[in-house]
Subunit: 137 residues, 2 copies
DNA sequence: CTTGACCTTGTACCATGGTAGAGGCCTTAC
DNA sequence: GTAAGGCCTCTACCATGGTACAAGGTCAAG
């Protein structure tokens, strides 16, 4: 009928234990069970797991990911709250992108310095990242 | 003469213990000591700490950051190795940026859906992130 | 010359995000 | 009907990245 936890784990390339862990932590909904107690998943469980993994790679914590997944609009009732959360998250993502771009610029300059075989007494990375260091959060 | 660990901690907005921890982990060089054993830092220690914090926010582990800091070109001798590391890191950063952009697009679509007060039976986030899910690393 | 703020080392503890193993039940194939 | 493999729960352990506390030395002010 549905997918077993092992099938889901294989398709999503995660550990079985991890799926159960996510269920405990509220990231995966508790699936239906067979009469004998086996978990039965719908195919979208695989998509959800892949989403979680991607979001994690992007630096979101499991708690944040739980929130992201909870942003699924429920009947328009909580729509404003959802919108606010989405906006906040988007702002955060935007900032991360900007910082990564600065990092990338620094890395590119380092590569260029290496290619140019400059005497390179100094490392551009530290200084370049310091440039934009007007953060305090 | 130099900065005390407390001064550095305050300026870089990190815990004193954290600085010592970084020293143990090889992210901060062991500074000179006063005759009585107090650590004495040069002002660039603050910059280094801020770099570490920024890199962490970008999703780099302490080990990766240690590597990044080690990329400081030493006399051109290890220049090719440094260049390769920088390139690899840049590729990784580029990928992260792309994924974050997809996440941002999903969030923006969600916001738009909220604003439009659509019936919003479905959440765009999960599906949109699934779109680009041609990853396996 | 003592009080308080600061420093030292060492060890222990915490949260997050898993991973592993024990002990036991289910299922399918021979 | 029995063995292999999958699943169940529960508990314990691991790495990472800190944070806290104890016991004690240092230093500057009064």
């Amino acid at each position: 009928m549905g997918l077993s936890i092992g099938q889901v784990a294989r398709e999503a390339a995660v550990n079985i234990q991890t799926i159960r862990y996510y269920e405990r932590r509220g990231l995966m909904p508790a699936p239906r069970r067979t009469p004998s107690g086996y978990r039965q998943y719908m195919p979208d469980a695989v998509a959800r797991l892949r989403f979680i993994k991607r979001a994690q790679d992007l630096g979101f914590s499991l708690e944040e990911i739980r929130d992201l997944l909870a942003l699924r609009v429920r009947h328009g009732s909580a729509c404003e709250a959802v919108e606010a959360k989405a906006r906040a998250k988007a702002a955060l993502v935007k900032q991360k992108i900007q910082e990564l771009r600065r990092m990338q610029a620094a890395l590119r300059r380092l590569v260029a310095a290496c290619e140019a075989r400059e005497p390179t007494g100094e490392c551009p990375i530290l200084e370049l990242l310091e440039e934009g260091a007007t953060v305090d959060a």
